[in-house]
Symmetry: C2
Subunit: 193 residues, 2 copies
């Protein structure tokens, strides 16, 4: 790939991320982005169709690292400790997110945060079902999935935007305490005939 393209793409990403920390996504104009990135107008539109697709591209770039396949292989998937695997994967994801926290901080602020959360949940909805199958539930399966996905993504938002002092392990423990504990530790008899 042409080095000019890489530099331009990175310049736009960086400018956009830094603008997001100061302004609402909806109030940022393309003109501001290209001024901050110091690129020409036609150059911006050669890279991205719209401001929204720029945001989507940034999210996709991050998810490419966060949901890389290596963690699936690390997982021993030990059924005798149901929930343990899940917490391990959670922690893994949190570490990847922490590596991108500079960009995430901008993405997660104000109205762009909701868009990021939407894409994030899409990925989680594909990743989590294998862990959730072993949970106890007296609730519809898709309610449970939605609950776990939303709880985790909101945990991430809480962490990145307002409580960066905690470590991935601590955050995973909070999440496990509020969401996973009951699902795995209680007897499964309630949900069986």
């Amino acid at each position: 790939m042409d080095r000019r393209q890489q530099k331009t793409r990175q310049a736009i990403f960086y400018a956009f991320s830094s603008l997001l920390e100061r302004k609402n996504f909806n109030n940022i104009t393309v003109q501001e982005i290209i001024d901050e990135a110091n690129v020409g107008r036609s150059t911006f539109y050669a890279h991205f169709e719209t401001k929204d697709s720029l945001l989507k591209a940034m999210c996709t770039d991050i998810f490419l690292h966060v949901f890389s396949d290596d963690l699936k292989q690390e997982s021993s998937h030990d059924f005798s400790h149901a929930g343990h695997d899940f917490q391990k994967e959670i922690t893994h994801i949190l570490y990847h997110l922490q590596d991108n926290r500079k960009n995430l901080k901008g993405l997660l602020s104000c109205d762009s945060g909701d868009i990021f959360m939407g894409y994030f949940k899409e990925y989680l909805e594909q990743t989590f079902p294998i862990y959730i199958r072993e949970m106890n539930y007296n609730v519809p399966a898709d309610y449970l999935l939605n609950h776990v996905v939303c709880s985790f993504s909101e945990t991430v938002r809480w962490w990145i935007t307002r409580h960066e002092q905690y470590t991935p392990e601590q955050i995973a423990a909070f999440f496990a305490q509020c969401v996973l504990k009951q699902c795995f530790t209680e007897s499964k008899s309630h949900s069986l005939p």
Copy 2:
């Protein structure tokens, strides 16, 4: 209040709500709203500053009914059954929401849904702390509050947008099962010195 104003306001609300069921909030123009509502351009701007403030006004109108004070008095606040009061209040709120489900359905679809959720959470963050004080927690208090607020608001979104067949009691039971159960039923000793 002038009857003409009431009619215009309602016409705009109705038109906007019906447009939201078909289109993204961001893609709806003021022109479309006034065409659908069959009112003049200057009339629209006499009622609302911007499209965003129209959305906010609709949300506020709904919350006025949902978070009315009467439910605070109904509550017996029975400490011997911690969690029971909370589930009662939850059910109460769900009934109020069900009364507005026609407007809610539009508001909660697509990108306007995130804006509604933002306002909704603000109200919940003021309402829930009195119930949460009696919960067990080994997690930071504001993490727990955020968790309960987000879990409940996402439960509402799940219900209104995709699973209207359930009753308020059923939804409250799902929520209690996933969020309240562990907080109230387990011993508090863990969180005490």
